[in-house]
Amino acid sequence: MAAEEGQRRDVVTTVLGFARTLRHAGVDASPDRVEAMLAAVAHLDVLDATAVYWSGRLTLCASPDDLDRYDAGFAAYFGGEAPRARRPSGAEEQRVAQSAPLQTGEGSQEGGEPTELATQASGEEVLRHRDVAELTVAERDQLRRLFALLVPASPMRASRRRSPSAHGSIHQARTVRRALRDGGEITRLVHHRARPRPRRVVLLIDVSGSMSPYADALLRFAHAAVRARPASTEVFTIGTRLTRVTRELRLRDPDKALAASGSAIPDWSGGTRIGEVLKAFLDRWGQRGTARGAVVVVCSDGWERGGPELLGEQMARLARLAHAVVWVNPHKGRAGYEPLTGGMVAALPSIDCFVAGHSLAAFEELAGVITRA
């Protein structure tokens, strides 16, 4: 009995230590999950490494991105006994490896330096933005406040959910309930009709070097959009890679949200490979549902370092998935602008709406375009 007690304590200590290791590696091993792991281990063989591996993986992980971190944490903590080879090799393995850097908060081996750079860069972005827009500090502050007030209303779409209405189809339950009050006589039909729901809005923001003067403003716009409709807005940054910043932008304070997304973006002011990154977006998110029936707003100047053919192809794919595709190009606001860059020419046939995005007024217009889309 005492021995069993002792073993139980050992297991708890071991699992708690393992959970701590995992939290450092970025897996959200919350106390209730750890409790679940202990329960799982109790149902299996505590001394079997494979059983411990699976009880932890099944209870502590919550997404495919967690799995690599989990494997690394397991190998580190239990001395490399993880049945790592069990994961099939080949395409699937590669897919996970490719997709990992696209997520925010990736492994520590690469995390440090780019984050620092990113924070510095995001400071610079603000300065550069002031330069271009020729604003004083006071004006800039005011503009920020205005951005916070900018609430892009979501476009609506029909849904299958229904709510009471004077017209529409008959709500049987309510009709019968009402009839009961009148002694079983149907004196009035109660109707209901489809309730409109907000349509998803997806913002893809180019944070490459050529767009850096506008990235701050675009992210502020995105923040306002996310704050207005947290459930139906998604924001990604595109540059040399794809980063999802929706979660960071959900912070209430715009400056904190921008700082958070700034440190999540590893490729500030880098080059542009819109075609490739757009493909990554469509493969990982878009086709699975994020872009389906959504209003997708691409904010970029269309400076494409990769081949324009790929961009054209991916834009066509996007146009087939999305309800509407809006392209925001800050340069369009300049007099005499012609969309002549290779990327722009390739993308144009798949765009429903081509708007400027260089000033607050332009952003207000953009908000209107999104609402009407």
Partner: protein, 296 residues
């Protein structure tokens, strides 16, 4: 309802599943086993066609439990998932009571209207009433946030309260399998209630075994070639990499054409069974077909 004894450990469950024709790997067998003994829902994520739904069916067969399936979609409401009242029959009952001249008081009449026999049980209620059962909540990522929150409530204590009737509680919690294709991030609160398993495409040997088991008429040689070609297709970065289901369709199509092995020509003719996008087909055609499907 007496429950047949559950498998004693993951290996026993794996063996039982194999006897039904579903070949799980160790991780999946452990996941299913823990879901059974811990009474925790099993959250399965992975590409379409890796066998998430099939696992629920196989588990139902192994445990000899009835299976109830709830297909999720946007706008799914509680009345489609839990229960609904049969209004037509309620009205008929009302008329019949009137015609019989029953001098019932209004309250009695109303009470008789909300009787169990007028209740239409939907999958969630059915699964609880008929427990132990298997409840398959398919493609939960398609439902919206409100429904997820509602599901959380049902899955945490396995009870459903019907205002007019009272509370339905499952004696044994049903074995719940939730599947998601990851079109949307499912809320963390829901995932926390569940065991989480990411399902991969099976490795080569397992896929061959699955094809052989499911399609006994297909020759070993053809099964191996189809599995190998499918694995190569999965490496091509296609819009929709083929799953096990597609591999099976392909082998079936080839078998129906009387093919005994996979050569570039028959492969090209039957590619529609595996690839579901024109872009993917073009891409595969553009690549040297011989390199993909030729040889052993």
């Amino acid at each position: 309802m007496t429950e047949p004894t559950l498998p004693a450990d993951p290996a026993a469950l794996a063996a039982a599943l194999e006897s039904t024709g579903y070949l799980p790997d160790e991780g999946l067998a452990t996941a299913a086993y823990l879901a059974l003994v811990m009474h925790r829902p099993l959250f399965l994520e992975g590409e379409a066609g890796v066998g998430k739904t099939a696992l629920a069916r196989a588990l139902a067969e192994v445990t000899k439990r009835p299976i109830y399936r709830l297909q999720c979609y946007e706008g799914l409401e509680a009345s489609h998932a839990l229960y609904d009242w049969d209004f037509g029959r309620q009205l008929l009952h009302l008329r019949a009571a009137e015609a019989a001249g029953a001098a019932e008081r209004a309250e009695e009449l109303e009470a008789s209207l909300y009787d169990r026999r007028f209740l239409l049980a939907r999958p969630l209620l059915q699964a609880l009433e008929d427990s132990p059962s298997v409840l398959l909540i398919d493609e939960v990522d398609r439902a919206d946030d409100e429904f997820e929150a509602f599901l959380l409530e049902v899955l945490s204590d396995f009870t459903i309260s019907i205002p007019e009737l009272g509370t339905v509680r499952a004696q044994t919690p049903p074995l719940v399998v939730l599947t998601s294709n990851r079109t949307r991030e499912v809320h963390d609160a829901l995932k926390r209630r569940c065991l989480y398993h990411w399902l991969e495409h099976p490795d080569f040997e397992r896929e061959v075994a699955i094809l052989r088991r499911r399609l006994p008429d297909v020759t070993e040689e053809l099964a191996r070639q189809v599995a190998r070609a499918t694995a190569r297709l999965r490496e091509l970065d296609l819009l929709k990499p083929p799953g096990v289901a597609e591999a099976m369709d392909w082998a079936t199509a080839l078998h129906a054409l009387g093919a005994r092995e996979l050569d570039p020509d028959t492969a090209a003719r039957t590619l529609g069974a595996v690839l579901k996008y024109r872009e993917d087909t073009d891409r595969v055609h553009a690549l040297a077909r011989g390199a993909l499907f030729g040889g052993g």
